[in-house]
């Protein structure tokens, strides 16, 4: 039983390291928020394996829901006013009513 627990810890640690690397190296904040949510899940798994369900619970709620949501909302706000964005496809349009790319698709 002890051996299996050790392997689980190693697998969870590798998962966390991989998703943290992916999240830190992502260029686009929208991609990054998705990867941060995956990091949150990986961390929750690791914390559960390390016998810390309390921390896993708050990490699951915060890391996979609140932080990525706030990042997506900020990206939407920042890109909405400009008409250009990091994706740069809409050129120099300064019309504030340009339908912006939307994290939540149906809002506009």
């Amino acid at each position: 039983m002890n051996g299996i627990a050790q392997y689980l810890v190693v697998v969870a640690l590798l998962l966390v390291a991989a998703s943290a690397t992916a999240a830190a190296l992502a260029r686009d904040p929208v991609t990054q928020s998705t990867l941060l949510a995956m990091l949150g899940i990986a961390l929750a798994v690791l914390f559960t394996v390390l016998q810390a369900p309390d921390v896993a619970l708050s990490q699951l709620a915060v890391g996979t829901a609140v932080t990525p949501l706030l990042i997506l909302l900020t990206v939407r706000k920042v890109r909405r006013g400009t008409g250009d964005g990091a994706d740069g496809k809409r050129g120099e349009s300064t019309d504030p009513d340009t339908p912006s790319r939307d994290a939540r698709g149906r809002r506009r």
């Binding site: 943290a20 190296l25 990091l39 810390a52 921390v55 915060v62």
Partner: protein
């Protein structure tokens, strides 16, 4: 195995810092900060793990059960939630930055304005 979890925590911190240094976007910087921050949780919980220990709740287990260290878990727990609100504060600053300076690229903020 005896130091591997600590090294993973160190790696997460360094890769998060690297992302912040390379960042061209304040929102991206804040995301990398969240990554770097998660290294502290990994380190804390790794230090507190005890072989064969269960989680520190005694509702339905006898009081003699071996448990992992609850002190570090308590530290990590509050920090997860508080860290999220601090991230929100930083994101609010990024929105203000966009409103006042028209950019969120840290390299474009060359001088003081206003």
């Amino acid at each position: 195995m005896s130091v591997f979890p600590y090294l993973v925590a160190g790696w997460i911190l360094l890769i998060g810092l690297y992302g912040m240094v390379r960042s061209r976007d304040a929102i991206h910087t804040i995301g990398c900060l969240a990554v770097a921050q998660s290294s502290t949780y990994v380190l804390l919980l790794a230090v507190g793990y005890r072989r064969g220990g269960t989680s520190p709740y005694f509702s339905d287990t006898p009081k003699s059960t071996t448990v992992v260290d609850p002190v570090v878990q308590a530290l990590a727990l509050t920090d997860v939630v508080v860290g999220a609100t601090v991230t929100a504060l930083l994101l609010a600053l990024a929105i203000q930055l966009r409103k006042r300076h028209g950019t969120i690229d840290p390299d474009s903020l060359t001088g003081l304005k206003g």
